[in-house]
Symmetry: C2
Subunit: 259 residues, 2 copies
């Protein structure tokens, strides 16, 4: 079977299976992206989480980081208030940790070129920790990830280590990150639509035109005069995150010019 | 110029340049890995940070997440004690955030196959957020990243929001994560050595042998009888992290068999 047919078969097989997540369905905020991707023959999504605030409990001691002993006290895909956390914390007698986790999306791609397009969209939308995985036999996946998290230990052996005022302050930050994450998801959707439209146009155009067109797309510095580049906003650069390459604290040698 | 010669030229150019990081040199814990990679013709490192505890100050309000207003109050590549943070916090009149950031390493690779080998080594060593980037003209980079972070807001508009006891508790966790990160770096170095040795052996062996050998390497489930697979320890799986695919909270459809 050729690669194209093989991918098609896998996709059909994957999408016909039940959703094995605890929730059992795709998160509301990411449904449009999942549908857009699964509607294209070169992609299918294998896992997704739109972003969430979670309160985890780890065994009896967070210094013994055993995954087996971890349970969830609270999971919310919507903004939370202090009382949600206070109530959930009552169930904890180990070490409770509050986390904000941004969008995570895994997409299987027919070929490397498809993953590259999706990767550009992800980076341009602010998901800077995204990356491609290529398996030994060529299975190509894109993981969409952000650096925009939060991970705060709250209690130790059942004892609350912070004040209620602090939890309130923390949730304001977590909710704000959730909003920012939502904006990025919207940006991702818009960028993706443009990229896929462009892809369709170039696929149908003359081969020479196609090459020319390809070389012009996904410029890091967008030309404000070009409507199709508008998804690359400067907003991305204003948000504080672990932007590794810009970070003066990381040992850096000059990159050769982009090729 | 062919790709091989082009890569060689870029590498020479990159490694001859000064280190533009604030520190001006490669972190001690990652020197061996950097040297091992740069000693191979198919790789060169472009940035690295072994892992660190940092105290950042963000403008006057962490809800206005402007990167421009961010400054560093403390950076440590070694374990910290409470007083280090207390002293540094005295300089803050905005919003201070304590972070633990694990190893970050960017490696430019001659071809995709080289990045795949390095990616396997990274994943097997516990750096699960690692990923490949392929530029429009084929520039291939591997980013080594872990999920093993910590990000805790400590003060708001200059006011400390937590107790000293909490800071002490937090640093125990951060220091523990630093230790775990160090173990993973060692694991990465050992795995990398084995992978590169194997690569050399297979490159020099008969082509048919080479293919056979390649298909046997980097098994997820290692065969305990085989010495060359010993770098894949079960330890990795015990550590609590955002292991996206295992997470029952993430909408998941069945992966087609690895190919």
């Amino acid at each position: 079977m050729d690669r194209r047919a093989e991918f098609k078969r896998w996709k059909a097989q994957c999408l016909s299976k039940a959703d094995f997540s605890r929730k059992g369905c795709v998160d509301e905020d990411v449904v449009e992206i999942v549908q857009l991707l699964n509607g294209r023959e070169q992609f299918f999504t294998t896992s997704s989480c739109a972003g969430r605030i979670i309160l985890l409990e780890q065994g009896m001691d967070s210094l013994e980081v055993q995954k087996q002993n971890c349970c969830w006290l609270l999971v919310s895909h919507k903004p939370c208030v202090k009382d949600d956390v206070i109530v959930a914390l009552k169930k904890a007698n180990g070490d409770a940790i509050l986390k904000f986790e941004p969008l995570v999306l895994h997409v299987q791609c027919r070929q490397l070129q498809d993953a590259q397009i999706l990767h550009s969209v992800a980076i341009d939308s602010g998901f800077r920790n995204s990356g491609i995985t290529v398996g030994k036999r060529g299975k190509t996946m894109l993981a969409v990830r952000s650096t925009h998290g939060l991970e705060v230990p709250l209690s130790h052996k059942g004892k609350l280590m912070v004040t209620e005022e602090y939890i309130d302050f923390l949730l304001k930050i977590a909710n704000h990150k959730m909003e920012e994450n939502k904006k990025r998801i919207e940006r991702f959707y818009n960028c993706l639509q443009l990229a896929l439209e462009k892809e369709t146009t170039t696929t149908n155009s003359h081969p020479k035109e196609k090459i020319k067109e390809k070389n012009n797309s996904y410029k890091k510095k967008s030309n404000p005069g070009k409507a199709h580049d508008k998804c690359v906003t400067e907003e991305n650069d204003k948000v504080l995150e672990n932007d590794d390459d810009d970070d003066p604290g990381i040992s850096v040698t000059i990159f050769p010019e982009d090729y």
